[in-house]
């Protein structure tokens, strides 16, 4: 029986065999996590989780990124569903680095648009647009959301590829507030150390 533990399957077998390329790692895929800290605030990219499917990704993202009161809503999408523009720097906007626009035909879909407005910060939700492809969504976003702005990187994600927080999920963030022992700040170690050292000094 093949083990479920990928580390076991990575161990080389013994005995004779062919010369072969190293096998790809047997690992779970990644999902991008977007978090809304407060009602009315925009969502922002918070990080990545590994998971076997989008539902599990949602569940693992909840505890990985939003354990305590830092969140009212989150959503996840497969990393491969995030379309990324070129990266710009200085006064150049990433929108100006996009390849020349072509008129797109086809069924329109809604896309979430994320902007990176400061290098080193997270991508923040900028709005949504309707388009028939991710490339088309970038072009529409350029006109509707990018005019007169310096944006260093743009992401677009098809809304249908996103696992959103539904109204019935909202109470996941209702939690017991009285858990200060989980915070390092609740242990006033400095004060106690000082008191202990004082006591030790007098004892000598």
């Amino acid at each position: 029986m093949k083990s479920l533990d990928p580390r076991v399957n990575r161990l080389p077998g013994f005995g004779q065999g062919e010369v072969q390329p190293k096998a790809a790692l047997d690992q779970l895929g990644t999902y991008e996590v977007f978090v809304q800290a407060k009602e009315g605030k925009p969502f922002q990219h918070e990080g990545i989780v590994h998971a076997s499917d989008i539902e599990l990704a949602y569940i693992l993202a909840k505890e990985t990124f939003t354990r305590r009161f830092t969140c009212v809503s989150l959503y996840v999408t497969d990393t491969r569903d995030v379309y990324v523009s070129p990266l710009s720097e200085g006064q150049t906007s990433a929108y100006d680095l996009l390849p020349a626009a072509e008129v797109q035909q086809g069924e329109q879909e809604m896309y979430e648009v994320y902007h990176l407005v400061k290098r080193g910060k997270q991508h923040v939700h900028a709005g949504e647009v309707s388009a028939s492809s991710p490339q088309g969504a970038m072009q529409v976003a350029k006109q509707q959301l990018g005019v007169g702005k310096v944006v260093y990187n743009v992401w677009v994600i098809r809304k249908k590829a996103i696992r959103y927080t539904t109204d019935t999920d909202k109470d996941l963030w209702l939690t017991l507030p009285d858990k200060k022992y989980r915070d390092a700040s609740d242990y006033k170690a400095g004060d106690k150390l000082t008191a202990f050292l004082e006591k030790a000094k007098h004892a000598v």
């Binding site: 029986m1 093949k2 083990s3 479920l4 533990d5 779970l28 989780v49 590994h50 998971a51 076997s52 499917d53 539902e55 599990l56 569940i59 693992l60 993202a61 909840k62 505890e63 990985t64 354990r67 109470d171 996941l172 963030w173 209702l174 939690t175 017991l176 009285d178 858990k179 022992y181 989980r182 242990y187 106690k192």
Partner: protein
């Protein structure tokens, strides 16, 4: 209200939460993947938090301080079910226990949110979101692994068969069932067990796991009266090791 009955009820719930919270926290740093390690550890902390909240209610009813209650009792003074004290074994057993236990836990607190005893009703309403997450987490994994590979299914099946007799021990009746029901404090273990069985069946029917005939499973009871396996005392010794060095220390 019947204080003895309330105390008995609160102790068994709090002890279950504390012991399973501690048990599950033993996975911290050893979980099958980082994200799951974080989630499982976080839920373990939630459980310890629930026990703390209930020990505080007990403290107001005249019982000792929460820390004293948690760390200074011996195994035969604990009222937890034997299910929660069993060693973690491998992750499949921990997941099955998590599923069986948390399914009962959320129904128990749902029932208690209607309790005429306001402190427990209020707490039950407060922790609703956490419990919902716990069952969402458990159900998702069980559905996933209960339909995945030959290994995952057979592992869960073995663990299910091992855990079920102990899980039924969760519903060991209290000497005060009648009083609790009559005063509207708690609907009772029998009613809880009935609803739990339905939920367990409903979920397992969505997997390739086989639920044994309920009549063929004999409950392992005694935990509520302080009768425990040999696994509880070592857990308590380890959990209270630091506290017992200096019980008067301020943290």
């Amino acid at each position: 209200m019947n204080q003895l009955a309330i105390k008995e009820l609160l102790y068994k719930i709090a002890d279950d939460q504390l012991i399973l919270g501690h048990r599950n926290s033993e996975w911290t740093g050893f979980g099958p993947m980082l994200e799951e390690d974080i989630a499982f550890s976080s839920m373990a902390q939630d459980k310890v938090g629930h026990s703390y909240a209930i020990y505080q209610i007990l403290n107001k009813l005249g019982e000792q301080e929460p820390d004293t209650v948690a760390f200074m009792r011996n195994a035969n003074q604990f009222h937890n079910s034997q299910l929660v004290e069993l060693p973690n074994c491998e992750y499949d057993f921990s997941l099955i226990r998590h599923f069986l236990y948390d399914t009962a836990e959320i129904i128990r607190f749902e029932m208690l949110s209607q309790s005429t005893y306001e402190p427990i009703a209020e707490l039950s309403r407060k922790i609703k979101g956490e419990l919902k997450y716990h069952t969402l987490h458990a159900n998702t994994w069980i559905k996933k692994l209960g339909n995945a590979t030959e290994e995952s299914i057979s592992r869960l099946q073995n663990s299910l068969e091992k855990a079920l007799p102990y899980a039924l021990g969760l519903f060991e009746e209290s000497p005060y069932e009648k009083e609790l029901t009559a005063e509207g404090i708690f609907e009772g273990e029998a009613s809880l067990e009935k609803r739990w069985r339905q939920k367990v069946e409903e979920l397992l029917n969505q997997t390739q796991l086989q639920l044994p005939d309920w009549n063929s499973v004999s409950p392992v009871i005694g935990g509520r009266l302080g009768k425990h396996t040999e696994h509880l005392q070592p857990l308590l010794d380890e959990m209270s090791e630091v506290f017992r060095i200096d019980p008067g220390a301020e943290w």
